[in-house]
């Protein structure tokens, strides 16, 4: 019988990390991720995890320490948010470039200025192209489950890339939910210790991070492209493995009502939950709507997305971050690119920016978006291609 406990998103991630037998944690507390770091340091202090907790003076140092530790073959975790992730920015590229399978919990939060501590995806989208795998959880259960799977995905020798597990700041990080947790032994069985191939070892010296001039740098980047593409299959394998272990099914994306949907919302994270609830109500009124929630944003599951879109005529893509000056925002750009690549550019798309700086998106907002998408499906006309939901004019 599975053990059920009440955990916030932050607590769920810390609990999962505790069970994953990590060797090194180097992290710096920042709202709304603080509790993750506090709990992990407590676990180390209490002897509940046999890990080294490195107290660092900044997020830049946190990620630097993680890179060093990961290169020795250790299993490494860190966590951050917002300005902390921004401060880590250059080290994120070093972690992926040196192929360190670090797992990072991110409690997504807006970026300054103006100063704001609430949830949006600006932080992780700002590091969109840093070569990390990115997962977005809808609730605390998913955050817990993805952390355990993430170590297995990242450390797979076909991948060897860092991965971030994202939870919406406050909405998930601070809300207590029902979480089914595994027994420690079961996690150990699912996730055996890391088996590194090349590690820093004084007995067998190697050089990492050597200067790579124009004659080799490009090849290194090409390797990373390949590794991220490979991660697609590995993620799927690990999802299957996890399902047989827990009965909880994960994939690169989740769909709701898409078998006959005429209009759909595509959203990352917790908002997909609201969208599903509204879609359920609308469907009971006979309206054919659906929801696509990419669990994995990098690698972008475009084939799965196209399959999920099926015969839907209109897609409303929700972005909780702004790509200033871009034709569409991050998620929508990827959706449109995927449709184009698969010869489905006739599907009508509009992009809704929402929830910046933690502004609530309500079921009423979502209902209006669905209705607008249905209207566009019926008339064949998209009224507004780029909308800002709930902003005062």
């Amino acid at each position: 019988m599975a053990k059920v406990i009440g955990l916030t998103g932050n607590e769920a991630i810390a609990y999962a990390v505790k069970q994953c037998d990590v060797d090194v944690i180097a992290a710096y507390p920042i709202t709304p991720q603080t509790i993750m770091v506090e709990l992990l340091s407590e676990y180390v202090y209490n002897g509940e995890i046999n890990a080294e907790f490195i107290c660092v003076e900044s997020e830049h140092s946190a990620m630097s320490a993680c890179v060093g530790a990961s290169l020795t073959g250790a299993r490494v975790f860190t966590a951050t948010a917002s300005q902390g992730l921004a401060l880590m920015h250059e080290m994120l590229y070093i972690a992926s470039g040196l192929r360190c399978p670090i797992v990072m919990g991110v409690a997504n939060r807006a970026l300054s200025a103006p100063l704001n501590i609430h949830g949006d995806h600006s932080d992780m989208m700002g590091s969109r192209d840093c070569g990390w795998m990115q997962v977005y959880a809808e609730n605390a259960q998913e955050a817990y489950d993805w952390i355990i799977q993430s170590f297995k995905i990242a450390e797979d020798l076909r991948v060897l890339l860092p991965i971030s597990v994202n939870i919406d700041g406050f909405i998930l990080s601070h809300s207590m939910e029902r979480v089914e947790v595994l027994e420690d032994e079961d996690v150990s069985r699912f996730l055996p210790p890391r088996k590194p191939v090349i590690t820093i070892d004084p007995a067998k010296p190697i050089t990492v991070g050597a200067l790579c001039l124009p004659d080799y740098y490009f090849e290194m980047k090409r390797q990373q492209v390949h590794a991220l593409n490979e991660s697609y299959n590995v993620i799927r394998e690990v999802n299957k493995d996890f399902e047989s272990f827990t009965g909880r099914r994960y994939d690169l994306l989740e769909t709701y009502g898409m078998s006959d949907a005429e209009a759909a919302i595509i959203s990352l994270g917790s908002t997909a939950g609201t969208a599903k609830a509204v879609a359920r109500d609308l469907r009971s009124e006979g309206k054919k709507v659906g929801v696509i929630k990419p669990w994995v944003y990098r690698p972008f599951p475009e084939e799965d997305l196209i399959k999920a879109v099926g015969d839907a005529e209109t897609l409303a893509v929700l972005d909780r971050a702004c790509s200033f000056g871009a034709p569409f925002n991050a998620l929508c750009s990827d959706v449109v690119a995927a449709l184009y690549r698969y010869g489905k550019s006739s599907v009508k798309v509009f992009n809704c920016v929402y929830g910046l700086g933690g502004r609530d998106i309500t079921p009423t907002d979502i209902r209006a978006i669905f209705n607008e998408a249905l209207e566009a499906a019926k008339t064949g006309i998209v009224k507004e291609q780029l909308k800002f939901i709930g902003v005062r004019e």
């Binding site: 192929r99 090349i198 190697i206 990492v208 290194m220």
Partner: protein, 94 residues
């Protein structure tokens, strides 16, 4: 230079160098745009070029100096410092 460069499928992942001292094999002379030519008949073997060369690419011989073109990057410091002006910088033709 003559070294065969591997493609991304064959290189160690993450650009790890698996043995120490491999920089010795990395010839950087092909960065050069200008090549120093020493008129060894006029060289007085004062070794100022040997002292100033930032890449240790001047070779000391018994009566005059020579250049190690595998590492010389053609900066021209030697030609500038030579008191008898016996070093000429000649454009590389590639």
């Amino acid at each position: 230079m003559s070294e065969i460069k591997l493609g991304w499928k064959s290189l160690p992942i993450g650009g790890v160098l698996l043995e120490p001292g491999s920089a010795m094999r990395y010839k950087t002379g092909d960065w050069r745009a200008f090549k120093p030519i020493i008129d060894q008949k006029r060289c007085i073997n004062c070794l100022l070029c040997w002292i100033y060369c930032p890449d240790s690419a001047i070779i000391r011989l018994e009566k005059f100096v020579d250049v190690n073109y595998e590492y010389c990057k053609g900066c021209g410091v030697c030609a500038n410092e030579c008191p008898v002006k016996c070093i000429t910088m000649v454009e590389e033709k590639r």
